[in-house]
Symmetry: C2
Subunit: 152 residues, 2 copies
DNA sequence: CGCGAATACCTTGTGCACGATGTAATCGTG
DNA sequence: CACGATTACATCGTGCACAAGGTATTCGCG
């Protein structure tokens, strides 16, 4: 049987390398807009539906407050969004796009197709890859939460 | 046509999320050994072939000196490897495993199978995923290097 | 109503990841 | 052999990513 420690046999490393390679592809495109990839992801979430609490953004992106809080602060400092406490629940901070945040969507309109072109995936294999990766994410997440001996 | 900005349609986000989910799965396993995932990757490279220059490790993992230098320094501080200048070329730093670094391979022997189990991929789909991700990495890398107007 | 638990968020500390810059050693070429 | 270019590596600054710990607000239940 093959050596289980061989780097080339590991899907995890291929995943790790691919993820960074894709982010590298985004970097120059987003850099012109003054964005990083995680910041762009937050905007994607808000472009889909604006004025959402931090919690929802975190759930959509699988990111915790420790990552989001400073990231949202930087986006606020750059004038793309605002933060406001909900009057009916002062614990909740609602994130809303500014006008500049909304127009950024137009400025970024060329990004998805440019990336799609760079990755060279046709529509079918893209969907298949997404399916495989979702299954893998779910499987890994369940395992991380449950450990060796899961309990309800 | 579907909105190109939809998060759910983006292979890149699925990739980004999956990569972090997998790293999360490694964390508790490697944590018991006092390792992080990138540190584990460096050990994988050295277990395959010991006493290699920093440059080669970087090429194997697609990591630059800015990432590797401090990472290797931490592994050295933890007693897993040593750094030594090559006498015939004083620019080159050769990384060699210590005895502790070699025995770590035995201590980590359960890791690959545990991860394999957690991801729930059979051998065939694992290989197929690796192939897809390699193609994607190559495509993204070529695009990043070449940009819109590549020149030799 | 009172009060302990839960919720939503923030902050701090550590460790990647990458760009930019710096330095010493080596190479290549005239 | 001299000297500019290249190579191998280190350092610094910024921005994630996550764990751990903290605060203020709200909820639930007796």
């Amino acid at each position: 049987m093959p050596d289980e420690f061989l780097l080339d046999e590991q899907a995890c490393f291929a995943l790790y390398a691919a993820s960074r390679a894709v982010t590298d592809t985004y970097r120059p495109l987003l850099g012109e807009l003054g964005l990083t990839y995680p910041q762009y992801l937050v905007l994607l979430v808000l472009w889909e539906s604006d004025a959402r609490p931090v919690k929802e953004i975190g759930e959509a992106l699988h990111l915790d407050y420790g990552t989001l809080s400073p990231l949202l602060k930087r986006l606020e400092a750059n004038g793309l969004l605002t933060r406001a406490r909900l009057p009916e629940d002062e614990r909740t901070v609602v994130i809303s796009l500014t006008e500049e945040g909304r127009t950024m969507r137009t400025r970024a309109s060329a990004v998805p197709s440019a990336i799609g072109c760079a990755l060279g995936l046709d529509d079918a294999s893209r969907r298949e890859l997404i399916t495989t990766l979702r299954r893998l994410t779910a499987s890994a997440t369940a395992y991380s939460l449950g450990g060796f001996d899961a309990q309800p």
